[in-house]
Amino acid sequence: MPTSQRHKLMMSLLGWVVAFLVFFPILWMFLTSFKTELDAVSGTPNIFFEPTLENYAAVQERADYFRFAMNSIIISFGSTILALVFAIPAAYAMAFFPSKRTRGTLLWMLSTKMLPPVGVLVPVYLIFRDLQLLDSHLGLVIVFALMNLPIIVWMLFTFFKEVPKDILEAGRMDGASPRQELRFILIPLSVPGIASTGLLSVILAWNEAFWSLNLTTVAAAPLTAFIASFSSPEGLFWAKLSAASTMAIAPILIFGWLSQKQLVRGLTFGAVK
């Protein structure tokens, strides 16, 4: 075997061992979800077992998965759209008409993300109670939009920065007003960037647990609440917990896998040219 082939074989082995180890917890959860409760807790792991779907049935019986999933979808996509509506004009202005304050504004926005939500939970809870936003889709949509807004503005800012200035100038020579410039040139050109920004926002909103647990009870509760209801230590129902977990993460995992290429481009925040 030539050395390059041997090298490739070694790399393949190493790569797959690493991939297996990193993915193992998820795989194990997935396998466990098809075991009986007895198999699941047996101290000796077994890979060869009779797969059963009873856990999924049990989970669905106890809590209506689809309602939670629908809530998750409404809240994460809703908040993403809301945040994009606010962020696109702001990022456009900052990328193309930078002023002395632009950098400061961007960094300030980012710094608001560093405040622990728990530090302001009490006032937000009280305000939401008074505005009757508790346990409503709208409430979480607003919170998640605000929570992700700084990151979204920043990602869009880096995407807009990458649009060649020449093209916008050609647009101006052709008589495009700022609004037409945004609508006919910049937004169509930035669709991939806006998409990957939106993807990240959806993923972050989908997985957020703190606000969704504290601001919802039943009606608007997303999948994070669904999982929480299975994690209460009322016994070792691991198989059911695994089934519930699999159901909670499957949509977003598949979504993330399908969109990983777009996602990555945005996550580099312009650090990779």
Partner: protein, 384 residues
């Protein structure tokens, strides 16, 4: 009809004056090339004309109307960018029709105009493609087509050929020149390539460090450079410069002495100069001749060949004369000199230029007839 008048134009970035007090007249239907080294302000000037760059001072008028404050699209201009700046998400047809669409022109009219421009530029088969599916030359043609469709008063070109390969550049050069003839439009063209300037321009504007060095027809600049800078910039290979001292000043010319004592008589007016003043003698490589040893006279410079570049049809010799000064010579392809050969170079004073130590040229006594070849017909006796 489109004439442009630039009066005392200034451009200031912070404390830096990148264009100082620049005035220029551009006639209707003229092909004007702004040329100069990078950073000389030629692109900035073009962008100010386009309206993409604010004018810090002075007046810019198109057809006697001051346009300083007009937005770009209301100036009646079209611009072809160096990067082509095509809208990547639109088809070729949509790219070309975009300005008309924004102006509210009806769809049929848009398509008619695009079709017309496409025909001129042979773009018809490409109208439904996206820019990324086009070659560099095709993209360039679409960019030009986008400009044509708007029927502008003035076309602006910002180094449009610099991203093309050499063969395509020659082809597009010819196409743009042809376009200028058939459209009868005023065109302003920025380039750093003096060959493009020489081949395309009616009028060349040589810029240096934010000001105009000289304005003239290509051969005017070639034969009558007013400064060392223009002399060095126009012509390829570059003009040779030799340190010299004034030997004598007379009515029929000025005689200079080189460091080895060789005397050269140049037909320029030596007004204000006196014997012993330091000057620079300029001689174009094509005006130098190599002479065989047996025909040598006292007026020839002895030297040694350092590099020989043979292009087949012509030969460039880089020689070392006069204690290390380099003189380049352009000769026929049949020259047999090899590296390290001794060589004798003859300078024909009649074709030489003299520059004072402030870089200004001493005026020639007579105009070269070639310099006025392309000029508009002039009244008899006016040409010198």
């Amino acid at each position: 009809m489109a004439t442009l008048t630039l009066r005392n134009i200034k451009k200031v970035y912070g404390d830096v004056e990148v264009i100082q007090d620049l005035s220029l007249d551009i006639e209707d239907r003229e092909f004007v090339v702004l040329v100069g080294p990078s950073g000389c302000g030629k692109s900035t000037l073009l962008r100010m004309i386009a309206g993409l760059e604010e004018i810090s001072g002075g007046d810019l008028s198109i057809d006697d109307e001051r346009v300083n404050e007009l937005p770009p699209d209301r100036r009646g201009l079209a611009m072809v960018f160096q990067s082509y700046a095509l809208y990547p998400h639109m088809t070729v047809a949509d790219n070309m029709a975009f300005a008309l669409r924004l102006a509210g022109v009806s769809r049929e009219e848009r398509m008619a105009k695009v079709g017309e421009a496409a025909k001129i530029l042979h773009l018809e088969p490409l109208l439904d493609r996206k820019p990324r599916a086009l070659s560099g030359g095709q993209r360039q043609r679409v960019a030009i087509g986008r400009a044509i469709v708007r029927e502008p008063r003035v076309f602006l070109f910002d180094e449009p050929l610099s991203n093309l390969d050499a063969a395509l550049r020659v082809q597009m050069r010819i196409e743009i020149a042809r376009l200028h003839n058939s459209l009868d439009a005023t065109m302003i063209y920025v380039t750093h390539d003096q060959v493009e300037a020489m081949t395309m321009a009616d009028k060349i504007v040589v810029m240096n460090a934010g000001h105009i060095e000289q304005v003239g027809s290509p051969l005017d600049l070639y034969h009558h450079p007013e400064s060392l800078f223009v002399a060095g910039f126009i012509g390829s290979p570059k003009m040779n410069f030799i340190e010299a001292k004034i030997a004598s000043v007379g009515g029929d010319g000025t005689k200079v002495a080189l460091s080895d004592g060789t005397k050269v008589a140049v037909p320029v007016s030596g007004g204000g100069m006196s014997s012993g003043d330091a000057v620079t003698l300029g001689v174009r490589p094509e005006d130098l001749t190599a002479v065989a040893n047996d025909q040598a006279t006292g007026g020839d410079l002895a030297g040694r060949v350092v590099v020989a570049e043979r292009l087949g049809g012509e030969t460039f010799l880089y020689t070392e004369v006069l204690d290390g000064q380099t003189l380049n010579l352009k000769g026929p392809g049949a020259m047999t000199y090899r590296v390290n050969d001794a060589i004798r170079l003859r300078i024909d004073g009649a074709t030489c230029h003299l520059f004072r130590d402030d870089g200004k040229a001493l005026p020639r006594l007579a105009r070269n007839p070639m310099a006025d070849l392309d000029a508009e017909p002039v009244a008899p006796g006016a040409a010198g």
